[in-house]
């Protein structure tokens, strides 16, 4: 009797949060979900197919897919070694380097785009020699789209892989060494497989970020249909001229993002998986 009497109020207290917390929590949830619901309700579902085969949207979709995959690939090739160096190599100023690497995460993308433009533009410190020596001009080309997307996506991959490398028990590698494994064998047979889930998660995250990139792209690559106009840019442009097409494209992006969340469910949403 006594135990039951003391236990039941405790249980009800736990399941019923105080209203000062419950009400803002519900508002927050509604705040996040209502716009998405609004988008889905405004979608002209019957004509989505037609809108998506329109040449302008087709171009945007193709360009977005190609550039975002390339950007994810660049992030992978450059990001894994950088993550490894940050996690495993002791060097002076490492905290500063890590902070700089993560800067694009918080930097307004338009600032990133401006920075790219000033550095890689025709008169920039890298852009000027590129043009004079090789005749390469980067701004306002599809290559500029890839560069802008890589710039904003790279930190996501580095963060994810570095976190995994830090969390990884290096003693697995020691165990492999005591079993006679060379450095290369340890890296390929032990280190890489153990960090593979984080690499997949980081690459997916980087790809999703690249796919949705707007600010840096429009600043550094411009908004030329068929050349640099990616899906987010097309959505922005179409809102003025063809609202339904803009909504249809938005729904495509939303669907892709939901897919990414499903892919990342195991890796990213697990508590502590992205610990840095």
């Amino acid at each position: 009797m006594t135990t039951a009497a003391t236990r039941s109020p405790r249980r009800s207290r736990r399941s019923k949060p105080p209203w000062v917390l419950a009400i803002p929590a519900i508002i927050a949830l509604a705040f996040l979900l209502i716009p998405l619901a609004g988008l889905l309700m405004a979608t002209p579902w019957t004509s989505v197919g037609e809108l998506l085969i329109d040449p302008v949207t087709q171009q945007a979709l193709r360009l977005s897919l190609a550039t975002s995959l390339l950007a994810a690939g660049c992030a992978l090739i450059l990001g894994v070694p950088l993550a490894w160096v940050l996690a495993r190599v002791q060097f002076p100023g490492r905290p500063l380097v890590r902070a700089l690497v993560l800067l694009p995460l918080v930097l307004p993308p338009v600032v990133g785009g401006t920075a790219l433009l000033t550095a890689l533009g025709r008169r920039g410190i890298v852009g000027a020699p590129l043009e004079s020596l090789f005749g390469i001009t980067l701004p306002f080309t599809p290559a500029a789209v890839v560069i802008a997307e890589t710039f904003v996506a790279l930190p996501f991959l580095v963060l994810s892989v570095e976190g995994a490398l830090r969390a990884m028990d290096t003693r697995y590698e020691e165990a492999a060494v005591t079993l006679g494994a060379s450095r290369m064998r340890v890296f390929w047979r032990i280190t890489v497989p153990l960090m593979a889930p984080a690499v997949v998660a980081g690459t997916t995250l980087a790809w999703a970020r690249a796919l949705g990139e707007f600010g840096a792209t429009i600043t550094f690559a411009g908004n030329f249909p068929g050349r640099t106009q990616t899906v987010p840019l097309a959505v922005y442009t179409l809102l003025e001229t063809n609202r339904e097409a803009a909504i249809a494209l938005s729904v495509v992006l939303l669907a892709v993002c939901v897919l990414v969340l499903v892919i990342l469910r195991e890796q990213w949403l697990r508590p502590g998986a992205l610990r840095s």
Binding site: R171, E174, A175, V177, T178, L179
Partner: protein, 368 residues
């Protein structure tokens, strides 16, 4: 090179086995150890947590390059002032406290990893691994991933992985610490039989004296950064060099054959225990303080009583350790007061008794 180092190297080149001289810096002291261990014997390194025991294993394995010292194995110099053989080139097998089985590889791949690393062909590695899986009774687990194994199974895989390359030195770092008490007893018995078949040098690091007594031939006790005592298990138990060693090794270990709760001891005599389930070869432990000493045949309720002669007496703080020549021969701890009251002295004939409930019995080896 120092004269001592030269002497050590000379010995190492002549004698098969392990010569180890190492200085390992800990936060508040420097562990300075000199060990010589012949092949085919198990040396237990016993000491409190933080005494630097595990670091010694890392020095032998070559996992720390900062340590100073000399490691000579079967005449090969692995480390001295001028040479350092990198870890992957040393013929060692190591079992870690938490096993460190590679989580992405199957049991079979874990065990064959060392063979493949050391250049065995795929076919040879496969055949050898199959042989060891059978020897450890884990053939049915070959395709499992480590996360699908119980603690005892993981331990077997870890030991098989370390032994499969037939290393010159086997390093066991608290190999049973991660197991629950019940599994530990059976795995320990099994491990004992595997170790007895291993012909290289085995170093076992443990903080558990029973583990040391059951698995090892020799014991080396560390305290405050240095070796307090080194010797055979019987020597160290019977003649502890310090109070610390006496406390640590405060156990008698006897072997015998059990039938229906009674153990016929290999050294003669018998013990009545409360465990009537065990049959066959067993080991039993008796705490020295659990054994009572009497001048006359005891009238107490204790089920075990036997007669013996006091061989030696040693003062250990407020207690006195009696070294008894009896069946079984044991060490007994009594208070200084009892020594006076009973008038105990070396050479004297006395009676010993111990309650059946005070005796821990466990299987000596796994017959399964």
């Amino acid at each position: 090179m120092s004269a001592q180092g030269q002497e050590l190297q000379r010995q190492g080149l002549e004698r098969p086995g392990l010569q180890l001289q190492a200085q390992v810096a800990r936060s508040d002291f420097v562990l300075d150890v000199h060990i010589a261990q012949p092949r085919g014997r198990v040396l237990a390194i016993v000491g409190p947590n933080g005494s630097g025991k595990s670091s010694l294993l890392q020095v032998v394995a070559g996992l720390v390059s900062s340590a100073q010292g000399i490691v000579v194995v079967d005449g090969d110099t692995w480390m001295n002032e001028d040479t350092f053989t990198s870890a992957e080139k040393r013929s060692v097998g190591m079992v870690f406290q938490d096993y460190l089985l590679f989580p992405h590889l199957s049991v079979q791949e874990n065990i064959s990893f060392g063979l493949r690393s050391r250049g065995s062909s795929r076919a040879h590695a496969r055949a050898t691994t199959a042989d060891w899986l059978g020897r450890f009774g884990i053939a049915h687990l070959a395709e499992r991933k480590p996360r699908q194994l119980s603690g005892g199974q993981s331990q077997r895989v870890a030991l098989a992985r370390a032994l499969v390359t037939q290393p010159a030195v086997l390093l066991l770092d608290e190999p049973l610490a991660a197991l629950d008490a019940q599994t530990r007893v059976s795995v320990r018995a099994e491990m004992r039989s595997h170790l007895s078949q291993f012909c290289g040098v085995t170093l076992l690091v443990t903080h558990d004296p029973i583990e040391a007594m059951v698995l090892a031939d020799d014991i080396c006790v560390l305290d405050q950064g240095s070796v307090v005592q080194c010797g055979t298990v019987a020597d160290v138990t019977r003649h502890p060099a310090t109070e610390y060693v006496a406390k640590l090794m405060g156990l008698n270990l006897v072997s015998g054959i059990a039938t229906a709760g009674t153990v016929a001891l290999d050294s003669g005599g018998q013990l009545v225990t409360t465990n009537s389930d065990l049959t066959g070869a067993v080991l039993a432990t008796l705490r020295p303080s659990a054994i009572a000493v009497h001048r006359q045949p005891p009238q107490s309720s204790a089920r075990n009583a036997w007669e013996g002669v006091i061989r030696d007496m040693e003062h250990l703080g407020d207690r006195v350790r009696l070294d008894m020549e009896a069946r079984p021969s044991v060490v007994v701890d009594v208070t200084s007061q009892s020594v006076v009251e009973l008038g105990l002295q070396p050479g004297q004939q006395v009676w010993l008794s111990v309650k059946a409930t005070e005796i821990d019995v466990f299987k000596a080896h796994d017959e399964a």
